[in-house]
Amino acid sequence: MDKKKLLKGSPEEDLKGFEEFIDHHSSDPNFLPRGNAPKKEVGFEHFTFITNDSTRLMKLKDLLMDNLPFASQHEQGENLIKAQQEEIALLKKNIFEICNKPESPYRTSMQEIFDSFFGPTQN
């Protein structure tokens, strides 16, 4: 680190003894063509694509080799379906019990409808 600082900090000292040489060639356009050379292209055009593809393949591998066999062996779906069917049956039973009470809104509405069509005529 110290060496680098020394070099950076004293460019004039580095050129000591070369002044005449540099002055002599300063008119030559090809002398020390620094910064003119074309930069070598280092593109990573496909790097992201290949990385994404790698991730895709890895996820596929996890799905096919780990997740799918595990899900097949410990399938929860059937149990869930059974539990849901039981709950649905219970809910239906409760709904029916409420609706089947003589004073329930359902019975009252049905009674009104039937009476309006088949009930005794009012004079």
Binding site: L57, L64, L91
Partner: protein, 166 residues
């Protein structure tokens, strides 16, 4: 080693020799394939789809992994389970890349993918397909039942609320 970009194959006839040229076990191992059936007549396209599907099912190969095999055709998508499109432009953009020279780091990364590709290629296609279908069917049923359960629950809640309010 080449980039995993679309390999476009124009299918020109239904002849067995032509089929043998492109239907092989490793056709979708290193890159996705787009089988363009548009040069065939409309009815021949359906026949070709059947032959291609038959090739994959009888040999227990998958047209979905490691890389998908797409059919580019005029027929409706409902005639096949295989991924398909009406034109090349409709194919997923992910695999549309310029085929230029790769640098060392990219080649190295691609080399690492080879093992994954091989592993996926060795998977039992029929088992995977069946398991996925079964898993999907069960979970669709769970979803439907849950919708039904929520419907009855909402009715019951409203009835209870109405009873309380008199």
């Amino acid at each position: 080693m080449s980039l995993p970009i679309y390999q476009h194959i124009n299918v020109k006839s239904l002849q067995l020799d032509d089929l043998k040229n492109f239907l092989n076990p490793d056709m979708n191992m290193r890159h996705p394939v787009a089988l363009n059936l548009k040069q065939l007549e409309f009815d021949q396209q359906r026949e070709m789809v059947g032959l291609i599907e038959n090739f994959f099912s009888t040999n227990n190969f998958s047209y979905k992994f490691p890389y998908p095999v797409y059919l580019v055709m005029d027929q409706e998508s409902s005639i096949t389970q295989m991924p398909n499109a009406k034109s090349v432009e409709e194919l997923p953009r992910f695999f549309h890349q310029k085929d230029t020279k790769m640098n060392v780091k990219e080649s190295h990364l691609l080399g690492r993918n080879k093992l994954l590709q091989q592993e996926l290629r060795n998977a039992d296609a029929e088992y995977v397909e069946t398991s996925l279908q079964k898993y999907g069917a069960i979970h669709r049923k769970v979803f439907e039942l849950d919708k039904e359960r929520l419907f009855y629950r909402s009715i019951l809640n409203r009835l209870i609320k109405a009873n309380k309010n008199g």
